[in-house]
Structures are given as structure tokens and as C-alpha cells.
């Protein structure tokens, strides 16, 4: 066997690959998140009916669907480790930074896959056209990144407590609120067809939020993971 130097980047990539492989074997989190998003979307569209919605409402609904779907599935990545009792093994095999990055990237992949399906579906069902696609995609991407950065550490916290499902929602809402405010506003601007420059405040907020949350969770991860 070739002797290779295993940097933390390599290990994170391997952890991501392992997560994706095991996820596609059972598809548990994937199914939960997709079905939840689909159901919420269907219920929303059904209850609104043929009523025409303003961009403000549409953007709020989109982010609500994303927010609640992520709550249903993102804690899974740590909860399944605790339940299958493989958490200790993972702790022995990989350094905390590696675990954090690997799980974060997996959550990101999961959420992006979800959005790839849900966002077009949402636009079709709500009969809305995206007038500024560049701004829309930037806000979506940055919002998703910020969401996974903040929720990964919360997922670890929740995986070690009881009442996991409801607790995750309760803990994440206050922390995610700045992100939601910025994303909803940015999406609204893009749906209204405003220029990219108009969304600059939101983009700045999203980027700063993303950086701050990533650094804070990165620093905190070890203390919680080794509990």
C-alpha cells in the first residue's frame, strides 16, 4: 500500500465520501428532508390556491420551507452516529476539525441537493419568475452556506441531549434569525428584479454571518464533540 500523507483536508474529504456513501445506502436523511420539503410546498401551494402573491410573501415562504426542511434533516448526521453507537469510533479515528468539516460538507451537499429540486418546483407552483437570477442564486448559496455553518454545531449539541427533534428547532431559530432576515430580504429583491447593487447590504450580512458562525462553531466543536 502506498504511504500517503493524510492531511486534515484529505481526511475531511474521506469523511464526506463515507457520509455520502452511507447516506445513499439507506437514504434516510435524504428521504426525510425531501418528503418534508415536498409536503410543505404542496400544502403551501394548495392553501394559497390561485391567489397571486407578492414577491415579499413568496420569498418568506421559500425560506420557511428551506428552514423547516433543514430542521427535519440536518441533525440526522450526528444523531445517527449516537444512535448507532459509532460516535466513539469516529472520535478515535478522526480529529475533531476533520469531523466538523466532513459533516458540514455533507450537510451542505444535502441541502444543495434539496434546493436543486425544491426551488424550481417552488417557482413553478407559486408561478413566480426570478427577475434577477444572479442575485437570487448568490443569496441562495450564501444563505445555505450560513445555514449549515450555524446548524452543524447545534446538531452536535442536540445529538447529545434528549427530545432531539423539537429541541433542534427551538435552539436554531434565534441563532439563524439574522440569516433568515437577510436571505428573505435578498430573495425578495431578486424576485422584484432589482439590481445586484440593491442586494449588497444583504450579501454583506450573509457573508459576515457565514464567517462568524463558521469560526465560532469551528472553535466550539471540540468541546462539545468530546463530551
Amino acid at each position: 500500500m502506498q504511504i500517503r500523507k493524510f492531511t486534515w483536508a484529505t481526511k475531511s474529504a474521506w469523511l464526506l465520501a463515507k457520509e455520502l456513501k452511507s447516506e445513499f445506502r439507506t437514504r434516510y436523511a435524504l428521504n426525510a428532508v425531501f418528503m418534508f420539503a415536498l409536503t410543505t410546498l404542496a400544502v403551501t401551494s394548495f392553501s394559497i390556491g390561485a391567489f397571486a402573491l407578492t414577491p415579499r410573501i413568496v420569498s418568506s415562504l421559500l425560506w420557511l420551507v428551506i428552514f423547516f426542511s433543514s430542521l427535519s434533516g440536518l441533525a440526522q448526521v450526528f444523531v445517527k452516529e449516537e444512535e448507532a453507537k459509532t460516535a466513539s469510533l469516529l472520535r478515535l479515528v478522526a480529529a475533531p476539525d476533520t469531523v466538523f468539516l466532513g459533516k458540514l460538507l455533507f450537510n451542505l451537499a444535502l441541502l444543495l441537493m434539496l434546493e436543486l429540486i425544491v426551488v424550481p418546483l417552488f417557482m413553478v407552483w407559486m408561478n413566480v419568475s426570478i427577475l434577477n437570477l444572479g442575485l437570487f442564486l448568490s443569496v441562495l448559496l450564501l444563505g445555505t452556506l450560513g445555514l449549515v455553518c450555524a446548524t452543524t454545531i447545534l446538531a452536535v449539541i442536540v445529538s447529545k441531549a434528549r427530545a432531539k427533534g423539537s429541541l433542534f428547532a427551538v435552539l436554531s431559530f434565534p441563532v439563524l434569525l439574522p440569516l433568515l432576515i437577510a436571505s428573505i430580504d435578498g430573495t425578495r429583491l431578486s424576485l422584484e428584479g432589482q439590481e445586484f447593487a440593491a442586494g449588497w447590504g444583504d450579501i454583506r450580512l450573509l457573508v459576515s454571518y457565514l464567517v462568524v458562525m463558521f469560526v465560532a462553531s469551528f472553535l466550539l466543536f471540540d468541546s462539545v464533540w468530546s463530551e
Binding site: 450555524a150 454545531i153 447545534l154 449539541i157 447529545k160 441531549a161 434528549r162 427530545a163 429541541l167 427551538v170 435552539l171 431559530f173 434565534p174 441563532v175 439563524l176 434569525l177 439574522p178 432576515i181 437577510a182 430580504d185 447590504g201 444583504d202 454583506r204 450580512l205 459576515s208 454571518y209 462568524v212 458562525m213 465560532a216 462553531s217 466550539l220 468541546s223 462539545v224 463530551e227
Partner: protein, 216 residues
């Protein structure tokens, strides 16, 4: 004992002054007197959160459960003060603008603080082991504290809201407060801070005694 009495006299003087002096803002009339109570209480609520954040960091660095007890005490008192701040603010909103709640930036941030405290205690009650509870709640307190500056400073600036600004901001902008008002306000601020410190001390002593009793 001495300081307790001093605090009592101080707060009585503050309350008396708040009601006897001419009202701070003539347009709003007597309702603006709430300024003397609402602002200090909100200030203490944020201070309590800051303390909780500091104690949480200290716990994670030293792993001494004493810090966790202090963080939890500080949060518990912070919850009390934030409830007071929300209620006083909403009474003021009703008497001035006719509705109890408007979701303007300041109201939203105090409500989020309330949610954070609630979430903190929900987390604490969901964990049984003492060390684990301490570690998890410390991590959450730190994460929540990091998110708060966005809400308090960034969001109101970026979103020059279409909502009415609270008169707290207006009154604060009137930096040329007549000296009597300024003194009363600062005295109230100090008084409520010392009230918090006194309650914090009491609860700490209770905790220490309870822990000692458990050992016996």
C-alpha cells in the same frame, strides 16, 4: 446588610424621582416616564447575557462546574429582566402607538433575547449528566451570543425600517437631556445593575449552600 439597605434607599429615591420630576418627553407625556425603568431593565438583560457568555467561556476553558452555575444563574436572572423589559416596552407601545407589539427592530431583538434564554433553559432541562449539561449549554450560550450583535447592530442599520422607530432611540438622540432627567436615568441604570448583582449574589450563595447540603 448595609449594601442591601443602601440599595433599597437608592431604588426608592429613583422611583420617587421618576414620578415626581417633570416628564422626560413633553410630546409623549407621562408615559415617557417608563424610560427610567424600561431602558435600565433592558440594559441589565443584555448585561446578564454578556455575563452568561463570559462564564460559559470560562467553563469551557477550566471545566469548573462553578462557572456553569454562575452562567445558569446569570441566565435565569437575565430571563426575568428580559421579561420585564418586554412587558414594560409593550405597555409603552400600547399607550403611545396603540398596539402592544409592532415587530420593529428593537422589539424584535428583545424578543429574540427572550427566545435565546428560553432555548438555553430548554437545552439545560434536556440533558441529565451535569458535566454534559454544562458543556452543551456553554456552547449554546456562546453561539447565541455571537449571533446577537447581528440582530442588535447590523439589522437595524441595514434595514432602515419602514416601521416606526421606538422612542427610546428618539429620546437617546436627544442628548441634551435636562440634568435632572439625566441624573435620574443614570441613577436608575446603576440601581438596576446593583439589583442584578445583589440577586446574583443571593442565588449564588443559595447554590453553594444547596451543594454543600447535598454532600452531607
Amino acid at each position: 446588610m448595609f449594601w442591601k439597605v443602601v440599595l433599597l434607599i437608592w431604588m426608592s429615591a429613583v422611583i420617587a424621582a421618576a414620578f415626581l420630576l417633570p416628564a422626560p418627553q413633553s410630546q409623549l407625556g407621562p408615559a415617557s416616564r417608563i424610560f427610567f425603568f424600561h431602558v435600565p431593565v433592558a440594559w441589565v438583560a443584555v448585561l446578564a447575557f454578556l455575563l452568561s457568555f463570559v462564564f460559559s467561556i470560562m467553563y469551557l476553558k477550566t471545566r469548573k462546574l462553578d462557572y456553569d452555575a454562575k452562567a445558569s444563574t446569570s441566565s435565569r436572572l437575565g430571563l426575568l429582566f428580559v421579561i420585564l423589559a418586554t412587558i414594560s416596552g409593550s405597555i409603552f407601545a400600547k399607550s403611545t402607538w396603540g398596539s402592544f407589539w409592532n415587530w420593529d427592530p428593537r422589539e424584535t431583538s428583545i424578543f429574540i433575547l427572550l427566545l435565546i434564554y428560553g432555548a438555553y433553559f430548554a437545552l439545560r432541562s434536556a440533558v441529565e449528566s451535569r458535566e454534559r449539561r454544562a458543556a452543551l449549554s456553554s456552547a449554546y450560550a456562546i453561539m447565541a451570543f455571537v449571533a446577537v450583535p447581528f440582530l442588535v447592530f447590523v439589522v437595524p442599520r441595514v434595514y432602515l425600517s419602514l416601521h416606526p422607530t421606538t422612542s427610546v432611540i428618539d429620546v437617546r438622540l436627544q442628548m441634551q437631556m435636562p440634568p435632572a432627567i439625566l441624573i435620574t436615568f443614570l441613577a436608575s441604570l446603576l440601581g438596576f445593575t446593583f439589583l442584578f448583582i445583589w440577586m446574583f449574589n443571593l442565588e449564588r450563595r443559595i447554590n453553594i449552600l444547596a451543594a454543600r447540603q447535598k454532600e452531607v
